[in-house]
């Protein structure tokens, strides 16, 4: 799936975010809730108003997890094993590419907004593959 070139591009691009992880996470989640309202159904316990502490906190968590995945591209399954369990047995977010696909689309939009022309077709392709792979690992134990 991910070629050596893909991995290099992903790590390079991710390195450029340096420090902005919380903002990227919050922006991604906010866009997802805004553009795909059904995704809010997983957060009835959250304050979903723009800039809420909970969105910022959760966005930071999500991006940190992605950061872990990116540091462990050789073994995503193992690196995300805990999260995979959590999603399968606890969170049970609909795996049929529904929410994860919307999250992936919004994350890509946020990266494109920040990187502009640097979000080249090659980078776009690498991230799309990465997010697909991550989504697959998270859904691995669903049944």
């Amino acid at each position: 799936m991910l070629t050596a070139e893909d991995k290099k591009l992903i790590q390079q691009v991710w390195g450029k975010l340096g420090g902005a992880e919380e903002e990227v996470g919050a922006d991604t989640l906010w866009r997802m809730f805004h553009a795909y309202p059904p995704t809010k159904t997983y957060f009835p316990h959250f304050d979903l108003s723009q800039g809420s502490d909970q969105i910022r906190g959760h966005g930071k968590k999500v991006v940190a997890a992605l950061g872990t995945a990116i540091k462990n591209l050789e073994n995503l399954s193992q690196a995300l094993s805990e999260l995979s369990n959590l999603h399968a047995y606890n969170l049970r977010v609909d795996p049929s590419r529904f929410a994860l696909q919307f999250l992936a689309q919004c994350l890509q939009v946020v990266l494109a907004v920040r990187l502009g022309k640097e979000y080249t077709p090659e980078v776009h392709s690498a991230f799309d593959k990465l997010l697909s792979a991550v989504a697959a690992v998270l859904a691995e134990k669903y049944r």
Partner: protein
């Protein structure tokens, strides 16, 4: 009939007003062929699609991208009747081109990403929402006449 709020219409129009149909169209189609290489199955006669560089520079890809996005413009001019506007195109994509409608959704999402990369922070969440809705409605309309 799809309901568009005044704000959505304004967000769509304001982005569209600044879009270079030729550039964005070419870029969106090129990215479709690069990010989802299986979509190349519809373009056997386009010549060299062997690498991202080849695809981006391919004149047939650029020309076709422009055609596709120009047609998108028709939807924007007729927001209140997108299904009607795309009726013939839908039949064409089903009967002659044999394109799986899933591809319309893929292209739509890519177009949103292209706009995000061009407009940066001006492509606000509200903007994205309006455009995701638009590409979804267009994809739906193009699939509508499939049988």
């Amino acid at each position: 009939m799809v309901h568009w709020s005044a704000e959505e219409k304004q967000l769509i129009a304001s982005v569209w007003g600044k879009v270079s149909v030729e550039e964005c169209g070419a870029e969106a189609l090129a990215r479709l062929l690069i990010v989802y290489p299986w979509t190349q199955r519809f373009f056997d006669n386009f010549g060299n699609l062997s690498s991202p560089t080849a695809i981006v520079g391919n004149p047939k890809v650029r020309a076709h991208g422009k055609k596709v996005l120009t047609s998108f413009g028709e939807a924007i001019k007729n927001l209140d009747n997108i299904k009607g506007t795309y009726s013939k195109l839908s039949e064409l994509h089903c009967d002659k081109l044999h394109v799986d409608p899933e591809n319309f959704r893929l292209l739509g999402d890519i177009l949103v990403i292209v706009l995000a990369s061009h407009f940066g922070r001006d492509f606000t969440p509200a903007c994205q929402f309006a455009w995701q809705k638009l590409v979804s409605v267009v994809a739906h309309a193009l699939a509508h006449k499939y049988h």
